[in-house]
Symmetry: C2
Subunit: 325 residues, 2 copies
């Protein structure tokens, strides 16, 4: 999950001078922000500071971030013709800044042995942003295209698979030692039937194409815990789960032969230590010491999070799982 | 589910002259808006035009709606002391406008035999609004209070149960022939464990208090389909389900001896007839003609919905279920 962010004073200081897309676009800055939480907390892995949306820019969409309002795409997909206008240029051309940041961080982390994770958005989540032009509560525009123009939807999703498979493979070549596919919206937006028709086939296709990249792939999605067994069948060496379903139930549904990542509610980091410790213990107890559990939050760190709670969480998980520091 | 709204030209015309709280506050207007969709589409039941938040005003919170931004509470709950400041006055004093609107609509509908549904928010959802001061994506403030001040959380939820039980009972006395409890956020926000600790006990308490009101109660919640059996154990004559889990699976989990309401994705009303019909058929096929299925959307009608699709849906469901008009 995203580790750097507004809860860290070092990050806030940098953000006073630079916009989020400026940081992502400047490899030295993105590398610095990636390393801030590693230095501060000693996480077992770093995740490259980036965003899921910039690959859409390479496809021909205009992206801007305004503080408080989130992302805005001024020329969103409104018709099948707009889908046909989208390009699928290689990531080496369109995402050189993030690939360069990965090279810098991988080099910096080499001595310590801390691995670096690359990531990209799942096709459904990116399609939602491309069609809605920003975040949405109802996904009305995306679903109208999906239901109304299924052939165009298929072309859009297939283009996104092409772009994302190439981008993730390029991240591995640049030095990312694991890759995470992020599906923020499919489980929140879709009925199970429509998930199977309009989202899952494309995540499956994407994960299929990543089988030969030579690094483990984490398949993470929000709001899908009810049918996490199906999500798992789409592929991925590790299944990332949000906090909605207890870890043991989710893992049982996935199958213990597969690794699992999760699943503390990020908001528990706003709680007093008594409650935070109770919930960390609960996740670890449910993992039961089985090999293949990666302790993690079920989503990114919230901006309101006290820095001390993150430090205490990392130290406590290290202690309980007996990983030597 | 809310039937009136921006997708209807009659409603838009009224909203040009009146704010949403003005309509809710004027019994004649609220009654008129409640009846608009009944006249236009011939639904089998009406639902009173109201909102889940006004009961918070009676408790001492300031509520305003701004177009596009949603609700805002200027004096949100920030501490246990703020919880203690909340009052629990009776609905006859604080919600006379909605109770009066119910009396008008019940009288208007008497001749046709169309029943009227009253509704209110579930304690968790109202607590989220009261603490966040509006809508939220992370529910960080509400969860911080819930985890950090569990005793204050319990007092807040207990007060909400008192107010909502009284409000719903008053709606039944005013002429509502069924009552719906609406939980928009618990299933979206909480882990199953925290749902059991911080939300479910209070919904159970509320439904318990409604057992003697003499009208059926619909227990509706969003994002809970994965553990809908637990939701059902909290009570309610009818369990309302969103669109995320297929109706037959949800009903099986609930138990066929209980009635079920749902579960078409409201966004399917934006689709061409071919797709819309396919999905209506799917819901009805999964209901399998069993007694106790109330065909409905899984949430309110979206503003983008074409009026003709609503009409066609109602006519088609009536035809397929052989209800004489």
């Amino acid at each position: 999950m995203r580790q750097a962010g507004r809860y860290m004073p070092e990050y806030r200081a940098l953000r006073e001078r630079h916009g989020i897309l400026d940081i992502i676009g400047a490899p030295e800055l993105a590398a610095e922000v990636t390393l801030q939480p590693i230095r501060a907390f000693g996480f077992d892995a770093a995740i490259i500071f980036a965003d899921i949306l910039p690959p859409l820019v390479g496809m021909g969409l205009d992206l801007a971030f305004s503080d408080g309002e989130g992302p805005r795409i001024s020329n969103r997909i409104m018709s099948p013709r707009d889908v046909d206008r989208l390009g699928t240029p290689p990531a080496e051309e369109t995402m050189p800044h993030t690939l360069a940041a990965i090279r810098i961080v991988a080099r910096e982390l080499e001595a310590s042995g801390t691995p670096l994770i690359g990531f990209a958005g799942a096709p459904f989540t990116l399609a939602c942003y491309a069609v809605e032009g920003g975040t949405s509560k109802s996904f009305a525009k995306a679903k109208a295209l999906m239901f109304g123009e299924p052939a165009a939807w298929k072309r859009l999703m297939t283009k996104l698979v092409t772009v994302q498979a190439d981008y993730l493979a390029a991240q591995a070549r640049a030095g990312a030692q694991a890759l995470q596919v992020f599906d923020s919206w499919a489980g929140i937006a879709l009925s199970l039937t429509d998930y199977r028709r309009f989202a899952l086939p494309y995540t499956t296709m994407l994960l299929e194409r990543l089988k030969d990249v030579g690094v483990p792939v984490i398949n993470f999605s929000m709001g899908t815990s009810c049918y996490i067994d199906e999500v798992a069948r789409a592929g991925g060496d590790v299944i990332g789960v949000d906090w909605r379903r207890p870890l043991d139930e989710a893992w049982k549904a996935i199958g213990y032969e597969r690794a699992i990542q999760g699943n503390l509610d990020p908001a528990v980091l706003l709680a007093p230590w008594r409650e935070l410790r109770y919930q960390i213990d609960d996740v670890l107890d449910r993992a039961g010491g089985r090999p293949g559990h990666i302790f993690n939050l079920g989503h990114g760190v919230l901006p309101e999070t006290p820095v001390d709670n993150v430090r205490r969480l990392v130290d406590f998980v290290h202690e309980r799982t007996l990983i030597p520091r």
